[in-house]
């Protein structure tokens, strides 16, 4: 019956302080927890992700290297939906991002350009949208880059031409525009990897006004 006291205010301070104590432990675990909080997980495949653990190395679908840094996220075909959190860009030693065949939405965060060790980024068969961040041109270790069957838009960043090892690529069935890059690794990538992008054109071309 009584008037609401100041308790919500006080509680606000205390919650902020105390939660931070419990959770503040390791950045990579936090980054993965950001993913867990960002996506809906109807099958509970992320249930083993316990932020109170020292590091995420015993979490299922996560693999660490010998230095206990996360090097693989294996979450293909897990019925996850929702956006990719930019925090994943903090997984500096990540080599394999395997998250194809889900219902991931929204853009590929530009922070993914910080994943300097990434060898494989498989995000095909999702519901991703927006442009490809140019920062992906920093992924100098990238070999496998498959983002087909999404709703990605905009041009294919020319920065990707500087990725020396890029070999397995699929950009098909999106809504990319402009021209297909031809230099660097793109010399050896078949055109079928770009199919079903109605606004994407072949050849040197000028700047596409529609892009």
């Amino acid at each position: 019956m009584a008037t609401r006291s100041m308790s919500p205010v006080a509680a606000g301070v205390w919650i902020a302080v105390l939660v931070a104590v419990v959770v503040a432990s390791n950045e990579e675990g936090d980054a993965l927890m950001a993913l867990r909080h960002s996506v809906k997980d109807p099958d509970g495949v992320l249930a083993s992700w316990d932020p109170s653990l020292v590091n995420p190395c015993t979490w299922l679908h996560v693999t660490c290297n010998d230095d206990n840094h996360v090097d693989r996220i294996e979450l293909a075909n897990m019925r996850l939906s929702g956006p990719l959190p930019p925090e994943l860009g903090k997984l500096e030693q990540l080599q394999y991002m395997e998250m194809s065949a889900n219902s991931l939405q929204g853009p590929i965060p530009s922070e993914f350009g910080k994943l300097k060790n990434l060898v494989s980024m498989d995000l095909y068969n999702n519901d991703l949208s927006g442009p490809l961040p140019t920062t992906l041109g920093n992924l100098k270790s990238l070999k496998v880059f498959r983002i087909d069957h999404n709703r990605l838009t905009g041009p294919i960043p020319r920065e990707l031409s500087g990725l020396p090892d890029l070999a397995t690529v699929d950009f098909s069935s999106n809504d990319f525009c402009g021209t297909i890059p031809t230099s660097g690794p793109f010399q050896n990538i078949p055109l079928t990897s770009f199919s079903n992008n109605p606004r994407l054109t072949q050849g040197p071309g000028g700047y596409d006004a529609n892009c």
Partner: protein, 976 residues
């Protein structure tokens, strides 16, 4: 007072003026004041009275002397008041209460009454006050209450009432106070309430009311207090609220109100309390709010309010609380937030969780500040040295910003400070020793900064400290020796610094300590005996240090331990001192030197979730009692010297997600009951001495991600049921004695990124279906088996594959050109098979070692010459190294010379050849064999002679050529 109702049911009680009215207007009513006691006794009979407060209620005493009864002064037996508040009464409110016709005030609040509010109350037309709040009443609010025309105060909240607010309450035109909060009322706010012109206080908060605030409510012109907080109300905040000229308190918190804050609220000149927290309000803070000169509390937190902090405490001269936490505010704190003349009354400022930037120097004008929370913003700059101009500061919360610089000595002047939370900034420098003057300091959070230096001894003067967290800085040197002065310390978190030296013995004096985290430092020495005094200790994490020696036996006295993590130290001796608690949820001791058996008492902690004892020197059998730990999700006993069977009792641990028993001397079979562990994600039994077959029941572990059974003595074939493990990422069956074919059903494991089947005796072809394992990436290793047939072209589909090893099998045919599609491949080993033909040009960048031991030609091997028709000539290998030719010639010469000297020499050469053939067979049976360049390379070359024997047509190949071949390779092998 007015019209009589319901008097025909019961003889009415005559009371004060109603007696007259009753006589005048309702002749059937009898004037019998003596019925009051009777009605009251009926009320009593319906109640349970644990404190006996009603024991004096008897006809032997004057009713007006009964406990809780008030009578009309000067009259006999005319009951006007019933007050039984807070006596623990239970039972239902008897409908007989309606017999108290003269009653004006009923107070049954704060009891444990149940059942409904009797509708019969509606007959008590003299009732002015009805207080039933804080009981457990159920049912709906009877609409009959609307008949109580004289009712001024109705407070029935804090019950379990449901249903709608009856519109009939709008008929209680005298109502001054209406309290219906903390029930389960639903529906909308009835517009009829707008007829309550006298209503001053309306409390509907903490229900599940929906809809908006009806515009008719504008009729409640006398409102001083309005709370509809914690409902599900929506829509805009109506601007007519600005017309409630007497309104002092407005609480709309925790609803779904949207839109902007109406500027009209600025007209509420009497308003002292305004709470709009937890809605979906947008737009800017209306500047008109600065006109609320009486306002003491302003809470707009947890909305989507944007723009600048346009509040001026210089205008809001009475403002004590300003709460704007959790909005989208940006910009800087206004320079004129507080007047510079020390007149500000602002005590509490909460701006956390916005996008605010700049420094916080402006706050130094708010001389009365007691609490500052600007956490979770983008503030920069230093913590102002002049912060001690705010001597009243109790809470200083600046975490999750980008403050830089050091903590200045002036902080020591904030003698009232209790909370100092600075974590996750860019602070540098050391902790000033002046911190020791903060005698009231309870919480000190400096974690996740870049602070350095030693922890000053003076910190141990802060004897009020309860929680200290320095995680993730660069503090070095020892933990202060007098840390034991901090008798109130409950949490000590020093993880991830560069602290060295021992754990001080005085720490045992911190008797309140519940959480001790010293992990990730460089601490040395043994744990002090005094640890056994930390009776409250619940969580202790010391991992990643260099602590050593046996644990003090006194630790066994710690009965409240729930989490122990001592991993990666040099502790030795028995585990028993850690097992005094029966509440352990986590016991992680990985990578120490603990020895002895795993004590069965560990199983007393029935809530154990993680038991990690890997990498120690534990011996004996796995105790069957571990099967009692039915909540266990992780059991890691790997890399010890455990022996015996895997106990069947572990089948009770049905929640296991990780079972790691690898690297022991376990014997017996791989238990079939593993198939019943449906939560299993990782199963590692490798490096043991397990025998028997792979149980087909493993196929039931449908969530299994990693399965490793390598380095055992497993026999039989790979059950096709493994193909049911469709989630499997890693399958490692290396180094067993498995036979039979690779089951094509493995193709269903289409999430495999690592598949290792090497060093077995698998035979038959490589199933082309493996080409469907499109996620294979880390390795496909089928080496050192007896696989035959061609390399399936389908393997070219494994575009992510980085390593492919099919060496030391009996694969024949050509290398399929599809392997050129393996664009991720960086290690390839096809050596020591029966492959023939040309190496596809696209594979020429791999070293010769990838191909040797076959009948292949072309780069990186020697070119396919005219004398080397594809797939025929073993001579591809014969002349790999030009320099070898000379050596070969020399050997031939020696052999010829030998022939001349010894007449039986020819017979002896045949004998050597035969023995080579036998070694080849052994190698094929999976008896081991070296990698490229080791001393066993000879076996690798032997299939060459076998193939040559089968190809008689190659007449030019003589025994001496074969001998040359082996000599050459022997020479090469010797160089490696």
């Amino acid at each position: 007072m007015g019209i009589k109702q319901s008097c025909s049911f019961t003889p009415c009680v005559l009371a004060d003026l109603s007696l007259l009215f009753c006589i005048l207007l309702a002749p059937v009513c009898l004037a019998t004041p003596a019925t009051s006691p009777a009605a009251l006794l009926q009320v009593k009979s319906g109640l349970t009275d644990p404190e006996g407060v009603l024991s004096g209620w008897s006809l032997e005493a004057d009713v007006c002397s009964w406990h809780g009864i008030t009578c009309l002064p000067g009259e006999v037996g005319i009951v006007t008041g019933l007050n039984l508040s807070g006596y623990g009464l239970s039972g239902m409110i008897p409908p007989a209460i309606s017999g108290l016709i003269s009653i004006e005030s009923i107070d049954l609040s704060s009891n444990s009454l149940t059942g409904p509010i009797p509708p019969e109350l509606g007959v008590l037309e003299n009732l002015r006050t009805l207080l039933l709040f804080s009981n457990s009443l159920t049912g709906t609010i009877p609409s009959e209450l609307g008949l109580l025309k004289n009712l001024k105060v109705l407070r029935i909240g804090d019950n379990r009432l449901h249903g709608e607010v009856p519109p009939h309450l709008g008929n209680c035109s005298e109502l001054v106070t209406l309290g219906l909060a903390y029930c389960q009322l639903n529906g909308t706010i009835p517009p009829e309430l707008g007829r309550l012109k006298q209503l001053q206080k309306l409390a509907l908060d903490n229900n599940t009311l929906t809809g908006g605030i009806p515009e008719q409510l504008a009729g409640c012109v006398s409102l001083r207090f309005l709370s509809v907080a914690d409902n599900m109300l929506q829509g805009n905040i109506p601007s007519f609220i600005g017309s409630f000229s007497d309104l002092q308190s407005l609480n709309l918190a925790n609803n779904q109100f949207s839109g902007e804050i109406p500027a009209e609220i600025g007209s509420l000149s009497s308003l002292t309390y305004l709470n709009l927290l937890g809605n979906s309000l947008t737009g800017a803070i209306p500047a008109e709010l600065n006109r609320l000169g009486q306002l003491q509390v302003l809470d707009l937190s947890m909305n989507n309010i944007s723009g600048k902090v346009s509040i001026s405490a210089a205008q809001l001269k009475n403002l004590k609380y300003l709460v704007l936490t959790g909005n989208l505010l940006d910009g800087a704190i206004p320079e004129d937030l507080c007047a510079d003349d020390s007149s500000s009354l602002l005590e509490n400022l909460f701006l956390a969780g916005n996008n605010l930037e700049g420094g916080i120097e402006a706050l130094l004008s708010c001389a009365a500040l007691q609490s500052i929370d600007v956490s979770n913003n983008s503030f920069t700059g230093v913590i102002p040295p002049g912060i001690d101009r705010l001597p009243g500061l109790v809470n200083l919360v600046l975490h999750n910003n980008s403050f830089t610089g050091g903590l200045q000595p002036q902080i020591g002047n904030l003698s009232n400070l209790e909370i100092l939370s600075l974590f996750h900034n860019g602070l540098t420098g050391g902790i000033p020793q002046e911190i020791g003057r903060l005698q009231k300091l309870k919480l000190l959070f400096l974690y996740e900064n870049q602070m350095s230096g030693t922890i000053p001894d003076e910190l141990t003067n802060c004897t009020s400290l309860e929680e200290v967290d320095f995680f993730g800085n660069h503090f070095h040197g020892p933990i202060p020796e007098r840390i034991g002065n901090l008798k109130n310390l409950a949490v000590l978190q020093l993880r991830q610094n560069d602290l060295s030296g021992p754990v001080p013995a005085s720490l045992g004096e911190c008797r309140s300590l519940q959480v001790l985290a010293l992990a990730d430092n460089r601490l040395t020495g043994a744990l002090p005996e005094t640890f056994g005094q930390l009776a409250e200790l619940s969580v202790v994490t010391l991992y990643n240090n260099s602590l050593e020696g046996p644990l003090p036996e006194s630790l066994f006295q710690l009965k409240n331990l729930t989490v122990i993590n001592f991993s990666h130290n040099r502790f030795a001796g028995s585990l028993v001192p850690l097992l005094g608690s029966t509440s352990l949820a986590v016991l992680a001791l990985t990578d120490n030197s603990f020895s002895g058996v795993i004590p069965a008492v560990v199983a007393r902690s029935r809530n154990m979730v993680r038991l990690q004892l890997g990498g120690n020197r534990l011996t004996g059998a796995i105790p069957a009692e571990l099967g009692n730990l039915t909540r266990l999700s992780m059991l890691d006993l790997s890399l010890n010297n455990l022996s015996g069977d895997i106990p069947a009792e572990l089948s009770n641990c049905v929640e296991l997600t990780h079972l790691k028993l690898d690297g022991n001397n376990l014997t017996g079979t791989v238990p079939a009951w593993l198939g019943s562990l449906r939560s299993l994600g990782e199963l590692d039994l490798s490096w043991n001495a397990l025998t028997g077959g792979i149980p087909l029941e493993l196929g039931n572990c449908s969530g299994l991600l990693k399965l490793s059974l390598s380095d055992n003595h497993l026999t039989g074939s790979i059950p096709p049921e493994i193909g049911r493990l469709t989630s499997l990422n890693v399958l490692n069956l290396n180094k067993n004695s498995l036979t039979g074919a690779i089951p094509p059903a493995l193709q269903q494991c289409n999430k495999l990124y690592e598949l290792r089947l090497s060093e077995n005796s698998l035979e038959g072809p490589i199933p082309p279906e493996l080409g469907q394992l499109s996620e294979l990436q880390v390795i496909l290793d089928l080496s050192r088996n007896r696989l035959s047939g061609e390399i399936p072209a389908s393997l070219g589909s494994l575009v992510k594959l980085e390593r492919l090893n099919v060496s030391s099998n009996r694969l024949d045919g050509q290398i399929p050109s599809s392997l050129l599609q393996l664009t991720s491949l960086h290690r390839l080993n096809l050596s020591d098979n029966l492959l023939s033909g040309a190496v596809p040009a696209g594979l020429s960048s791999f070293p010769a070692a990838s191909f040797v031991g076959n009948e292949l030609c072309g780069a990186p091997l020697l070119p396919c010459g005219p004398r080397s028709p594809a797939g025929r000539l073993s001579g591809t290998e014969v002349v790999v190294i030009v320099a070898g030719i000379a050596l070969v010639s020399a050997v031939v010469c020696v052999a010829l010379l030998y022939t001349m000297l010894r007449v039986w020499s020819n017979w002896r050469a045949v004998s050597v050849s035969n023995s080579d053939g036998e070694e080849s067979a052994h190698g094929g049976h999976g008896g081991g064999g070296g990698k490229w360049g080791d001393g066993k390379y000879w076996k690798v070359g032997s299939p060459v002679s076998w193939s040559a024997e089968q190809k008689h047509s190659s007449g030019s190949e003589t025994a001496s050529v074969l001998l040359h071949d082996k000599s050459t390779e022997a020479a090469r092998a010797g160089k490696r």
